[in-house]
């Protein structure tokens, strides 16, 4: 069943220097219990895509086009009140910095109880019990005691777990996770991934996992969407995208991973760097860095659909 359907989403920023088309025609859908990994260069529009779904884009940014359907409901038409009711209840977001969601001067328990009571009529004692269970679920030892602790008494990894526990309080249908483990160490990252993975499977949540680390996404996601310059340039089942990428950017990313190269030999690399969002090249935005470019690439690139995969490229890889 389709949980989320994003179609032709456009989120632009009007700045004195010009229009920044942060998200410029992004479409994807997510089924219940499915995990999609959203990867791409810094500035490609991953976070703004997430914020747009939640209705959290601040001016001068604005969703200027497309549609967002969540459980069939049109979120672009929803009132601010309705969105607030959905956020933290049916849809939750986890950020890279857990202090975006945690208040440093309140105990963990107080914050979690407030979150519970914001969405449910429930006694303080019941809300506290719910909070305790949520902490236990993300692997925090002695959750009853830890409810009285303050954020500073937790390590970075523990704080992120508290933020995740808070996001999970109401067993949301959809979680948007924006690089929540990027700042954490590998062993701690693994612990959190294992918890999130288990919970997603258990509760049948849909999960959008934003990351610039293809390795994380390879381990976690069912499907992978690759963004470049405000667009999804390739999307499909995980193994298809990683083993036989169609877009030259995806192909370059996969080929440059150290593991895909002989030790000590130069890594295969993508030349150049991503264009500024204000000065994107005409036609395909990847053109100045692309070894496949041909005459057609000066035109706007349409999407090619070959279910279950799709890509935006005139001369895709593997079709000589």
């Amino acid at each position: 069943m389709t949980l989320l359907e994003v179609s032709e989403l456009k989120t632009w920023f009007e700045t004195p220097a010009g229009t920044v088309k942060a998200v410029d025609g992004v479409s994807f859908s997510l089924a219940k219990g499915e995990i999609i990994g959203l990867v791409g260069e810094s500035g490609s529009g991953k976070s703004i895509t997430g914020f747009s779904i939640l209705g959290l884009v601040d001016p001068p940014g604005k969703v200027v086009g497309g549609s967002i359907r969540f459980n069939g409901e049109d979120l672009r038409a929803a009132s601010e009140e309705r969105l607030r009711a959905l956020r933290g209840d049916r849809i939750a977001m986890i950020f890279q910095d857990p202090m975006m969601t945690l208040n440093p001067v309140l105990s963990i328990g107080t914050q979690m109880v407030e979150t519970v009571q914001a969405h449910r009529r429930m006694s303080r004692a019941d809300a506290r019990a719910k909070a305790r269970d949520a902490l236990g679920r993300v692997g925090i030892p002695r959750p009853e005691e830890r409810l009285d602790a303050y954020p500073h008494e937790f390590s970075g990894g523990m704080r992120q777990r508290v933020a995740i526990a808070t996001a999970l309080l109401h067993e949301p249908d959809l979680i948007i996770a924006d690089e929540p483990t990027t700042a954490l160490d590998v062993t701690i990252q693994s612990q959190i991934l294992s918890e999130v993975q288990g919970l997603a499977a258990e509760m049948g949540m849909g999960l959008i996992w934003i990351s610039h680390d293809l390795g994380v996404v390879a381990g976690l996601a069912d499907r992978i969407a690759v963004m470049y310059a405000g667009r999804i340039v390739e999307e499909g089942p995980r193994d298809d995208v990683l083993d036989a990428p169609r877009h030259p950017y995806t192909s370059g990313l996969v080929a440059s991973a150290p593991i895909a190269n002989e030790r000590g030999k130069p890594l295969r690399q993508i030349r150049g760097s991503a264009p500024s969002a204000l000065h994107r090249p005409e036609g395909c935005a990847f053109r100045p860095r692309c070894d496949h470019a041909g005459d057609l690439c000066l035109n706007d690139v349409p999407e090619t659909c070959a279910t279950p995969r799709r890509w935006r490229c005139f001369y895709p890889m593997g079709s000589s």
Binding site: V186, Q189, Q191, P258, G264, A274
Partner: protein, 343 residues
């Protein structure tokens, strides 16, 4: 025996712990105690040979940057000493001390904050060689152009300011600045961590090129074991201020001796590990303010036994170029661990 370019001998470094924002707030509100002492480095021995690339890995706060700074002479060790070509760097005076400082250059993680935004690239790169009289004033411009070309930037960009460059280009400017004083030893502290994946490969390739071209010795600090393995000859693994394993890079993935190294290898995200069921070694990384007794890793180690809680394991040579600090198997660490390659 190749000659030793730089060495740390029994180096310890202690700091007063600096609280983070949440802690400072809590201290002010009386909800937390005043900060204590951090054991950032605890008896570290490391020899770096001329021409070698040594990778230094370990999790956040384990002391990698501190070790880099101590070796560069930017920080005084609390105990132990640093030698450069066999000489204690603290004993160097005048011209010798200056020569040593220039010969060792550090390149930091954040290319923006380490470049002065008000200076043109030509000044940023040309300043040190001019001030130290390494090249005549009239030749500075030509030299800057040459250095820019060396790091793969267009020499005509010399008059631009740092903000006019991308992250990867700024990192190259930082590298050109370091090369300008003819160092023989580069310490790269997370020099690629802030870069996009597609740019990381470019900068890694640049380091490998420069090493060959200028016969540089590199200490490459990173938390990314797969990158470190790719470019290093030897890999040094630290945990909470101590070196726990040193291993030739070509075998580090196959035969880890220290249980922590084995755990790290198990957990690194890799493109070839699909649809994993993530698991993890238990427990948090303990605080360096109050490290566990004996082997620091014992609260998280699946192999820990009584001795581990009581006694610090010494770093012991267990094979060609491989050292481990673990009580298992009489100080030999894990043996006969199956290869984890391509799991």
């Amino acid at each position: 025996m190749t000659d030793i370019l730089a060495a740390a001998e029994g180096v310890s470094k202690r700091f007063r712990h600096t609280p983070d924002f949440a802690e400072r707030l809590a201290i002010r509100l009386g909800a937390a105690a005043e900060p204590a002492t951090v054991h950032a480095l605890d008896g570290v021995d490391l020899h770096i040979h001329r021409g070698e690339v040594v990778g230094l890995v370990g999790e956040s706060g384990c002391g990698k940057s501190t070790l880099g700074r101590v070796i560069a002479g930017m920080l005084q060790p609390s105990e132990g000493r640093i030698t450069r070509q066999g000489q204690d760097i603290r004993a160097l005076r005048g011209a010798d001390a200056r020569k040593m400082r220039l010969a060792t250059q550090i390149i930091f993680q954040d290319p923006m904050s380490s470049l002065n935004p008000r200076k043109r690239v030509s000044e940023i790169i040309g300043e040190a060689p001019r001030v130290h009289g390494l090249i005549p004033r009239r030749e500075v411009r030509a030299e800057v152009g040459k250095l820019l070309a060396t790091v793969g930037l267009d020499p005509t960009m010399a008059d631009r300011y740092p903000h006019q460059f991308s992250g990867g280009q700024r990192q190259r400017i930082g590298i050109a600045r370091a090369l300008a004083v003819n160092p023989d030893f580069l310490i790269c502290d997370e020099s690629i961590a802030a870069l996009d994946v597609s740019i990381q490969a470019q900068v890694i390739n640049l380091f490998m090129d420069l090493r060959r071209q200028f016969n540089l010795t590199l200490l490459f600090i990173s938390h990314d074991l797969s990158v470190v393995r790719h470019i290093s000859d030897r890999v040094v693994i630290m945990y909470l201020g101590r070196v726990v394993e040193i291993s030739p890079a070509d075998t580090v993935f196959d035969a880890p001796r220290h249980p922590y190294t084995a755990a790290l290898l198990e957990e690194i995200p890799r493109l070839d590990r699909r649809g994993r069921r993530f698991t993890a070694i238990k427990g948090e990384i303990p605080s360096p303010v109050n490290p566990p007794s004996g082997c620091h890793f014992h609260p998280r180690c699946p192999h820990a036994f009584d001795r581990c809680r009581l006694e610090r394991p010494a770093l012991k040579q267990v094979g060609a170029g491989q050292d481990v600090a673990c009580h298992l198997n009489d100080g030999n660490g894990l043996i006969d661990t199956p290869s984890r390659q391509g799991e």
